[in-house]
Symmetry: C2
Subunit: 195 residues, 2 copies
């Protein structure tokens, strides 16, 4: 029986290889063969972890979720300032954020094609809106930064929509949207909502 340390080290190797494949080629390029090549191992060894393509895709989604949670910031500001921090941390203004977004955007194809994986993405969106964004929308209303009749769910949806739609445009045209322009657009959006 292998030592626990060996098992964990192997798992880290597999995760690192899966992530490199995702960052470079998206879910479209995620195959046992590509992961094996990254690890310098055989596909046979990997079938122990991933009996089929779906298991590999599900693992990759877990990994993306894990890395997203690890990298999550805790806003230092309140209300709109906190929302700005949260959204600035999402849009692709750094190499890490480009890689993360590239993985998430490419995951939508696989998630839309599979009821269970799709349900998981649905719940993830829900948590993002209601647990990450909405509390700060409500705080912004309390602070008088947003109109008193603001529907917090609507504004959370609009901010999530704006951020993710901007992500897609930036991934396809990074030269047109350098970090300072992305942040200026984010400010413009928050200002518009507060009017």
């Amino acid at each position: 029986m292998p030592a626990r340390g060996d098992h964990d080290a192997r798992r880290r190797d597999v995760s690192a290889a899966v992530w490199r494949v995702l960052a470079a080629h998206g879910f479209d390029g995620l195959t046992l063969r590509a992961v094996a090549t990254e690890m310098g191992s055989s596909t046979g060894l990997l079938t122990h972890y991933f009996p089929n393509k779906r298991a590999l895709v599900a693992y990759a989604l877990d990994l993306a979720e894990e890395r997203t949670l690890e990298g999550r910031i805790k806003p230092s500001g309140r209300g709109l300032a906190a929302l700005r921090e949260l959204l600035a941390d999402i849009v692709p203004i750094s190499d890490v954020a480009v890689e993360m977004n590239r993985v998430w955007v490419s995951s939508w194809d696989a998630a839309l094609a599979d009821a269970d994986l799709g349900e998981r993405e649905t719940r993830r969106y829900e948590r993002f809106r209601t647990l990450r964004l909405r509390p700060f929308v409500e705080e912004a209303v309390e602070l008088g930064e947003l109109p008193a009749d603001t529907d917090a769910d609507d504004v959370a949806t609009m901010l999530a929509a704006f951020a993710h739609g901007l992500v897609v445009q930036v991934l396809f045209d990074p030269d047109r949207y350098p970090p300072e322009r992305q942040l200026a657009l984010l400010d413009r959006m928050l200002t518009a909502l507060s009017a």
Copy 2:
């Protein structure tokens, strides 16, 4: 040599089968085998059209573009009213729009994984912002519906971002976003920008 009519009829059959596969399974499920099954033909016959997976993906993107152009509306209103018509025609408030969006969102994985296909999506986005949206943003400024110092490129980007980010949330959670709520969010967005 087959008659021209036969050739066109066969091409229509292939296109219809590719579209049914895309609408049901996205680019993730787009394989020669799946298209052949839809057509009740052999994969051997299809390799005449598509020598490899990339040729099939490129064809599918052409087809999506063609159907998008065919379905395009000409706004009857001006300024913000025209922008509302254009965006209401994009968001998934009808079965046809759900299908079209499902195909486009799933195409991003393949397009991000291939430099040429990615470049095509970049240009498509550019045309959407500058040829479809921006003229009406500029008209809205002229009509006094948007502030005189509005940056038309920024607003076109924000509207494209909002619409496409909303599309993704709706595809994963259609029950939460019935058509009337999508349109209300769109109105809220246009109102916010005009303040």
